[in-house]
Assembly symmetry: C4
Homo-oligomer: 290 residues x 4
């Protein structure tokens, strides 16, 4: 079956483009699933806990200064480890969405394992922050072809883990309600610019916040001209550092000042897309042997 591209969508009122600032609050979980022994490495753990302890409060204040509501993807384990942080995000009026339990990459996971991650994540967000998320983002943006059905069965409205469009779309789910997909991309992520943990993650280089700001600003302006949906993903343990938060604030100012751009959390964007009654796209795995 020949894949078909997503089509541009209409935005509310006079708006010509949309933008969301999203944050993946991985904290220690992003390290622990792959490296459980790192739980005993005090410096590594302190690097990760900077996110919920320092980064999130700083970013919440920054968002508040500009009246921007954002989306925070929180692994269930992180919610259990840092419940105050998660409640502070919710109390500030931001969206809390699902990001696995211990930030498990889904590569090669069977559906029952994947279902278990989803259910444990839901339980943790419910019990720690009283939140029932409607949005999902796969850890490492690593969705499987089983994920959409598992998400639909649990009543999720949207996912934000795919990369094949500049605009959101309805993603067909065989035998169930479709999901809104709000695409992301690697260049709109802070990990590649900032992350360095020897033996664990990173290229070994650390970039300047000015370079990150340049890439993200160029892509925002270009996506805006296309009428697309700009979704930036940053991590409080990285972008929560003072000079990086300041660079992000410059971008928040610029995007907020764009009168034709609707800045909203992903849940609002997903609800808008759902209201458009789009025809769902079907995505199937390709056959490498055809």
């Amino acid at each position: 079956m020949t894949p078909r591209p997503a089509q541009p969508v209409d935005w509310p009122g006079e708006m010509r483009a949309a933008a969301c600032f999203s944050f993946d609050v991985d904290a220690e979980s992003a390290v622990l699933h792959q490296h459980p022994e790192a739980a005993q490495r005090m410096s590594v753990m302190s690097h990760q806990s900077y996110g919920p302890l320092v980064g999130v409060p700083r970013l919440l204040k920054m968002l508040d200064r500009h009246g921007v509501r954002a989306t925070f993807f929180v692994p269930g384990w992180t919610a259990r480890r840092h419940p105050d942080t998660v409640r502070a995000i919710a109390d500030a009026g931001h969206e809390i969405a699902h990001h696995g339990y211990l930030h498990e990459p889904l590569t090669g996971a069977d559906p029952s394992t994947e279902a278990d991650y989803l259910d444990r994540g839901l339980d943790a967000l419910e019990s720690t922050a009283g939140v029932r998320p409607v949005g999902y983002r796969a850890p490492m943006w690593e969705l499987t072809y089983n994920s959409p059905r598992l998400l639909a069965d649990r009543g999720f409205l949207y996912d934000s883990s795919l990369m094949d469009a500049d605009h959101p779309y309805e993603l067909a789910v065989p035998g169930a309600q479709s999901l809104v997909e709000i695409p992301i991309q690697w260049a709109l992520d802070d990990w590649e610019q900032y992350c360095y943990l020897p033996g664990i993650s990173g290229s070994g280089l650390i970039e300047s916040p000015r370079k990150a700001l340049e890439i993200w600003t160029l892509e925002f302006e270009a996506l805006r001209r296309e009428g697309g949906c700009f979704v930036l993903t940053t991590h409080p343990f990285l972008t929560g550092r003072p000079s990086r938060a300041a660079a992000l604030e410059e971008l928040v100012e610029r995007v907020s000042a764009a009168a034709d751009t609707w800045v909203a959390p992903l849940i609002d964007i997903a609800r808008h897309v759902r209201s458009l009654g789009l025809s769902p796209r079907t995505l199937t795995p390709p056959d490498p042997h055809m």
Copy 2:
């Protein structure tokens, strides 16, 4: 046998240099040959299908705005997976050339395996887009010393996978008609600047379109002063992103504005070179033990 350098060539009319914008439409194939299991990784596949679904249409419009005809190298598998994309390229008047079947690197391939890749690629381009290509580029720019004969036997006019000259030349093929070789180079490629797929490809860093534009512009201006042939290679799944396409458009404008530079698809450049009646160069594998 001592290798001899290629010599500068004359360009048509008043022209003093040449330039071609070439695109490798790898799509999913660039991942699947090395990682067939990635066919089940929905996000990875969506990253690659952005090329034919979104990148190619955007780039076709951009080229049309500037009246530039380009060369698109399409693996046979990609043509079968995305036939509409390939037909749209052909319908817009661009050249479609051969880029293997499933983007197979030829390192260590024996001649019959290599022949099979070529024949399967030819069949796919013929049956999906009615195209019989005269140009070839080895996946990963990894030509073998067997490739020229296999290409000559199938009537190819040119190859574009070698790196030992600033100008095109005739490449001697023992026992057959020579091939026009139109050289490329790693610095005139977008992969090193933009590609990141964890566990699959990339250094881990992602560069700004401004940096890519700087490198390519500097090399264009310098090659132009040398009277050489500037061949840029970009990938729609990378450079098709809005801000990168905008950077490429800046370069297309600059190159098109250079009155002494002939902007043409590789097929036109190859035909011109063939018309010059150059004496073929012989390239033989060196002996590491001499």
Copy 3:
């Protein structure tokens, strides 16, 4: 137990922020623990000995020009190999602190091994330079949860190896006096910008001193606005090179010119923090299986 963030601290007098220039005088030791066979690699050893032989004298003169007192972390082995260098640092009025014996990363080390590294480092600093250090920094910033107790038992006042705050704090040590912790971060380090030793360390890229200066200046200015403590870590075998030392001197000038910023060695900062009578923070390893 839910981790709690460190709180901002008051600085002496009119000061609103603090800054320390720290130097890790690894010399050959940073290579030899992981690669003892590199002792026979003359060029590799010469790369490392540039630090104590050329870098340290240059940096001492530079600090003297600006009247800045700094902190030098010296592995015990380095002190034995380069005793004149260590004495020159002490004679110039700078602080000498502990940095392991042969720059041993503590990942997976048991407490008795770790104690041995500490004791051998203390012996070496005592016998070569007559110094009893009160500050510690774990090689590779790799502290274990056992380290604080081992340091407290040996009368250390402070550690500088954790990353979970912008401000210093008292770190609780079960059964012993707390330690002052003065946090660091990967972006305020020169290794990621400059280090390249094929097969031993580095991403393979080498950055410009201007880029390093940009990152460090941006973070200094942002931390200053937060009232935090800026701790830069550089290595004389890297930053001791002329153009890098010149870039660092620009930063030293800028930081020294900030009238609201207290520039001091870490020992002075730690003593100030101790005088504040802060309530210690407890940090415990997380449970990946919760």
Copy 4:
């Protein structure tokens, strides 16, 4: 034995600093010793042969435009493969120096193996270009503690592979005449900025010539202020590309315009240093177990 630093040297006449542009003409040899099977990879070989075929002639013309005499380090194998290139270098009045036979890294090589590389390299330079070199640079700047004696026994005047000083010095050779050592450093090399050969070498990134020019210019200016010796190392297969050669030419212009800087081939610098009658430095391998 405590290592002692090299001391600043006096330069001829009014000169306050020195500079040499050196070129490592590795060609195919830099790949073949580690990857002999790459002899069958036509594109890889073409990438390397760009150096002797195109890069060297371009660089010779550029040097001639500025009246600069340089030093070319040529592996013996390269001289046999590309004798015309080597003769053209010699005919243009530049120095040809020794760079191994097949660019063999000396890590772990025993003295007789290392002697064999030296003797085969001498034979090849003699028989192809009639040259008896007096200078040596270890491939990969990987000198062993045996190398100095082997060089001294063959009458070499100087080596340029160590990194522990900003100035040249006399290197003691037990039981033989000392060698002049003219130090180099990783930041004054083009490999880290430009080299990319998938699966063979490089970080995966390719930098802009402007960035390379910035790093080298900053270090030249800083070394000049120190009265040191600036030795840049570039590779014709990399820096011979048009825009990179243009960037190097900017640097050659700037260095040549520095009236207080003596621009000379390494042989002239070595002879000058020898004339100073310096006391040799002794370098011994450190003991990792002390």
